[in-house]
C-alpha cells in the first residue's frame, strides 16, 4: 500500500525502536506532525520551548539509555536552532538522529521563506547527513541514519526532508529485521600481545579512560583489568560514571580541573594505558610537556583518534570491551605494593589539600557541601546533569557517581545551557529522577526549558550554584588577567525562586547547609521540577587547576 512520506518517517522511526521524540513543529514539518498525531500512542512526543532544548533532550535521552535520541524540527530557524545541540552530540560521540523539514524541492536554492541549507550547515558537525529528494529513498535513508548514528564511534546524523517528499506517496515495506550494524573492528592479536608485554614489564602502569568505555559498555572489563594489573585509574570528564567513584583503584577525573592524585599519578607512571579516550587538551595540558616520562598504549574504536592528539608508542584500533577482555587474559596478575603505596600517599595528600583549601565566607555555601547534601538525597540511579563552568567541575570532582550513563555533561563542546534539556530527555527516557547542577550564568542560557519540565512534570531538582558572576571566566581573569572582570559580573536581579513559580514550578533559596538540607528534602519529594537557588561566593575557585598550556608541574592547588 502506498503511504505518505510523513507516514514513512513515523513507521521507520517505530521500526528503528524509537519510542520518544523531542520536537518543535513548524510549517515545513506540519505533515509529519499530522502523522505523529495519529501515532501519538506509539511514540511519546515531547515539545520543547526551543529547538536547542529539544536537541539537548534527545542527547540526554541517548546518553542515559545508549539508544539513538531523535529530535524533529522545522526548516530554517528550527533547523539552525538545532546546531549547538548537534555539535554538542558530535563532540561527545552521542548517537542522535535529527530530522528537519525543508521547503519543497522546487523552492530549494531560491532563498524561500524559512529555507536554509541545513545539510551544508551541519556537515562538519555530524557523522553524516542527508537530504532526501526522492521518496523512494526515504525509508532506507532513515534506516541508514540510525545505523550510522549508533555504529562504531557513535554520533549525530541529520536527515533533511523537503515538504513535498513528506506529502508524496510511496510503497512502504516494513522491514521487520533490524538493520545489521556495520561490522565491529576488533584489535589485532599481535598488537594486543605487544600491549600485554608492555603492561607486564611496566612498574607503574596507569589507566586513563574516556567516554568510549561507557559507549563501549566496558566498565566491568576496565575495572577487572585495573585490578588484575594493579593499576590506578583516572579518566577524562567524559569517562566519569563508567567506574564507581568509590572504587579503590579509581582516582577520579584528571587534567585541567582533575583530581590532584590522578594527575600526579599519571605523571609518575611509566606506562599509560589509554582506553576510549582522546587526549583532549583539557585532559593532558600542554602536549609538549605531557608524557615525558611514560610510554603510551592507546586503544580506541576510532582509528582517526590514534596519533591525532598524541603519538602513542602503541596504537590499537578496536572495540574497547573486547580489547580489555583479551588484555585481561593476556596480562600477568600483579601486585605492585610500592606503586600502590605511592598512590595511597597521593590520595592522602589530596584529601589534606582539599580540606585546607575549604574556607567559605559566612552567608555562602561551599560547592562541595552543595554536592554532598544533594547527593545524599539522590539514589545511585539518579541522573546527574550539569551545565558548563565552575559548577560543572565541582560536580565532576565531587559527585559520588556509581553507575554508567548517570552523568550527563557537555565535555567536548562545553555547551552552557546543555543541562536542563538533557535532564528532561534523560527523565523522559528512563523514568528516573534527575538533578541538574547549574550556575546562574548557564541556567540563564536555556531556562525557558523550565516550561517543558513543568509541562512534562519532569522530576528534576535544579541546583543553581548562584555566585552572580560567570565564575569560570572570572577565575581565569583573576589568575591570568589582573582581575580585569570584563563582562563577567552579572549584576542581574533575577529572583530564581519567583522565576520557578512563574513557570509553575517550586523553588527555594539556601545560604546555609540547614536550609539546603530542608530544600533538598522537599525537592526530592516533588513530582515536578524544583529549583534550589544556592548562594555561592563569587571568589570560590575550582581547584586544583592545571593552567592552560601548563603541565602537572604548574598545578595550582591553593589561592593565597
Amino acid at each position: 500500500m502506498k503511504i505518505s512520506g510523513a507516514k514513512i518517517v513515523v513507521e521507520a522511526l517505530i521500526e528503528q525502536g524509537c519510542d520518544t521524540i523531542f520536537c518543535y513543529p513548524g510549517g515545513q514539518v506540519i505533515d509529519l506532525f499530522d502523522e505523529l498525531y495519529t501515532a501519538r500512542d506509539r511514540i511519546k512526543q515531547i515539545l520543547s520551548a526551543h529547538e536547542q532544548g529539544a536537541a539537548h533532550a534527545a542527547d540526554g535521552y541517548a546518553r542515559a539509555t545508549g539508544k539513538v535520541g531523535v529530535v524533529i524540527a522545522t526548516s530554517g530557524p528550527g533547523a539552525t536552532n538545532l546546531v549547538t545541540g548537534i555539535a554538542t552530540a558530535a563532540l561527545d560521540s552521542v548517537p542522535m538522529v535529527a530530522i528537519t523539514g525543508n521547503v519543497p524541492c522546487e523552492l530549494i536554492g531560491r532563498d524561500s521563506f524559512q529555507e536554509v541549507d541545513i545539510v551544508g550547515v551541519t556537515m562538519p558537525i555530524t557523522k553524516h547527513n542527508f537530504i532526501v529528494k526522492d521518496i523512494s529513498e526515504l525509508a532506507d535513508t532513515l534506516r541508514t541514519a540510525f545505523k550510522i548514528a549508533k555504529s562504531g564511534r557513535p554520533g549525530p546524523v541529520l536527515v533533511d526532508i523537503p515538504k513535498d517528499v513528506q506529502t508524496a506517496l510511496f510503497e512502504f515495506e516494513a522491514n521487520p529485521q533490524p538493520v545489521i550494524p556495520y561490522p565491529i573492528t576488533f584489535a589485532s592479536e599481535e598488537k594486543l600481545k605487544k600491549a600485554a608485554e608492555m603492561i607486564n614489564n611496566a612498574e607503574r602502569p596507569y589507566i586513563y579512560f574516556g567516554g568510549g568505555v561507557i559507549s563501549g559498555k566496558a566498565s566491568a572489563q576496565i575495572i577487572a583489568l585495573a585490578e588484575r594489573i594493579d593499576a590506578p585509574m583516572g579518566c577524562s570528564l567524559m569517562g566519569l560514571s563508567a567506574v564507581p567513584c568509590d572504587h579503590p583503584k579509581f582516582l577520579g577525573m584528571q587534567g585541567m580541573h582533575g583530581h590532584y592524585a590522578s594527575s600526579i599519578a599519571e605523571d609518575e607512571a611509566d606506562l599509560v594505558i589509554a582506553l576510549g579516550a582522546r587526549f583532549s587538551d583539557r585532559a593532558t595540558g600542554n602536549k609538549s610537556r605531557y608524557a615525558k616520562h611514560f610510554s603510551i598504549i592507546h586503544i580506541d574504536i576510532d582509528g582517526a583518534e590514534l596519533h591525532k592528539n598524541i603519538n602513542a608508542d602503541l596504537a590499537i584500533k578496536g572495540d574497547i570491551r573486547d580489547a580489555a577482555e583479551r588484555l585481561i587474559a593476556m596480562t600477568e596478575e600483579k601486585k605492585r605494593p610500592r606503586w600502590t603505596q605511592r598512590i595511597e600517599e597521593l590520595k592522602n595528600e589530596e584529601a589534606a589539600r582539599t580540606a585546607s583549601a575549604r574556607k567559605t565566607k559566612s552567608g555562602f555555601l561551599h560547592p562541595y557541601d552543595i554536592v554532598d547534601i544533594v547527593s545524599a538525597h539522590a539514589g545511585d540511579d539518579t541522573i546527574i546533569a550539569t551545565d558548563v563552568g565552575q559548577h560543572q567541575m565541582w560536580t565532576a570532582q565531587r559527585y559520588p557517581l556509581k553507575k554508567p550513563r548517570t552523568f550527563l555533561t557537555s565535555g567536548g563542546l562545553g555547551t552552557m545551557g546543555y543541562g536542563l534539556g538533557a535532564a528532561i530527555g534523560a527523565c523522559a527516557a528512563a523514568g528516573r529522577r534527575a538533578v541538574l547542577f547549574t550556575g546562574d550564568g548557564s541556567f540563564g542560557m536555556n531556562l525557558n526549558e523550565l516550561a517543558t519540565a513543568v509541562s512534562q512534570q519532569t522530576p528534576v531538582t535544579i541546583v543553581i550554584m548562584n555566585n552572580g558572576v560567570l565564575g569560570m571566566v572570572r577565575q581565569w581573569q583573576t589568575l591570568f588577567f589582573d582581575k580585569h572582570y570584563s563582562c563577567t559580573t552579572l549584576n542581574r536581579k533575577t529572583d530564581f525562586v519567583k522565576l520557578a513559580e512563574a513557570f509553575g514550578a517550586e523553588g527555594g533559596r539556601a545560604a546555609t547547609k540547614e536550609e539546603l538540607e530542608k530544600l533538598a528534602e522537599r525537592a526530592f519529594a516533588c513530582d515536578g521540577p524544583f529549583v534550589i537557588d544556592c548562594a555561592v561566593d563569587c571568589d570560590e575557585f575550582v581547584l586544583p587547576m592545571l593552567p592552560p598550556e601548563g603541565s602537572v608541574d604548574d598545578i595550582i592547588t591553593e589561592i593565597k
Binding site: 545539510v119 551544508g120 556537515m123 537530504i131 550510522i148 582509528g303 582517526a304 596519533h307
Partner: protein
C-alpha cells in the same frame, strides 16, 4: 615536507566533494591540487588529491577520509609506481617577433597549439606538474594572457588498482 598524492573512491552522490574538501578545511590540512571525475562504474567518482605534509599529517588525512560515509577507498599512490598527469591550457599573444620562440617551446615540450587566431595562441600541454611548471616559466616572458590547469590525476602502473567496493 613531502608531497603525497592520494586516490579516493567516493560514492557518486551530491555533496561528496564538499564533504571531502570540507574535511581538509576543518582540520587545517592544505590541498595542493584536487580533481574529481567519473570512474568505470557509474556509482562512483574518483578524487585525486595532492598535498604537502609529513608522515603524521598524511596518516591523519587518510584516517579522517576513511571515516567519511561516502568514501569507499583511500590510498596513497607511491610516486615511483604511479603515472601522474596534469593538463594545461595557456593563452599567449600571437606576435610576429615571438611566434618562432613559442613554436620552438611548443615543439620541445611536445605541446600542441589548439587555437590559433591573429592575436592569440592557445597551447595545450599534458605532463607531470614539474613539466607544466617549466613550460609556464618558459612562456612567462612572452606575456601570458590567461591559463588554467586541471590539477593532477594519477593511476598506478601495472596491475595495482584502487578497487571500487561493489
Amino acid at each position: 615536507m613531502d608531497q603525497y598524492v592520494i586516490g579516493v573512491i567516493v560514492a557518486n552522490v551530491s555533496g561528496v566533494l564538499s564533504r571531502v574538501s570540507g574535511m581538509f578545511t576543518r582540520r587545517g590540512f592544505n590541498i595542493d591540487s584536487l580533481t574529481v571525475g567519473e570512474t568505470e562504474s557509474s556509482g562512483f567518482s574518483r578524487i585525486t588529491i595532492a598535498f604537502h605534509g609529513d608522515e603524521d599529517i598524511k596518516e591523519r588525512i587518510l584516517q579522517q577520509l576513511q571515516k567519511l560515509h561516502d568514501v569507499r577507498e583511500v590510498e596513497v599512490l607511491d610516486s615511483k609506481d604511479t603515472v601522474i598527469r596534469e593538463l594545461l591550457l595557456i593563452k599567449v599573444r600571437n606576435k610576429t617577433e615571438i611566434r618562432q620562440d613559442i613554436m620552438t617551446a611548443v615543439e620541445i615540450f611536445r605541446s600542441k597549439i589548439v587555437d590559433y587566431s591573429p592575436t592569440a595562441l592557445v597551447c595545450e600541454l599534458t605532463g607531470e606538474t614539474s613539466k607544466i611548471d617549466a613550460f609556464i616559466q618558459l612562456l612567462k616572458p612572452y606575456g601570458i594572457m590567461e591559463m588554467c590547469r586541471t590539477g593532477i590525476v594519477a593511476i598506478e602502473r601495472g596491475e595495482n588498482c584502487l578497487k571500487t567496493v561493489k
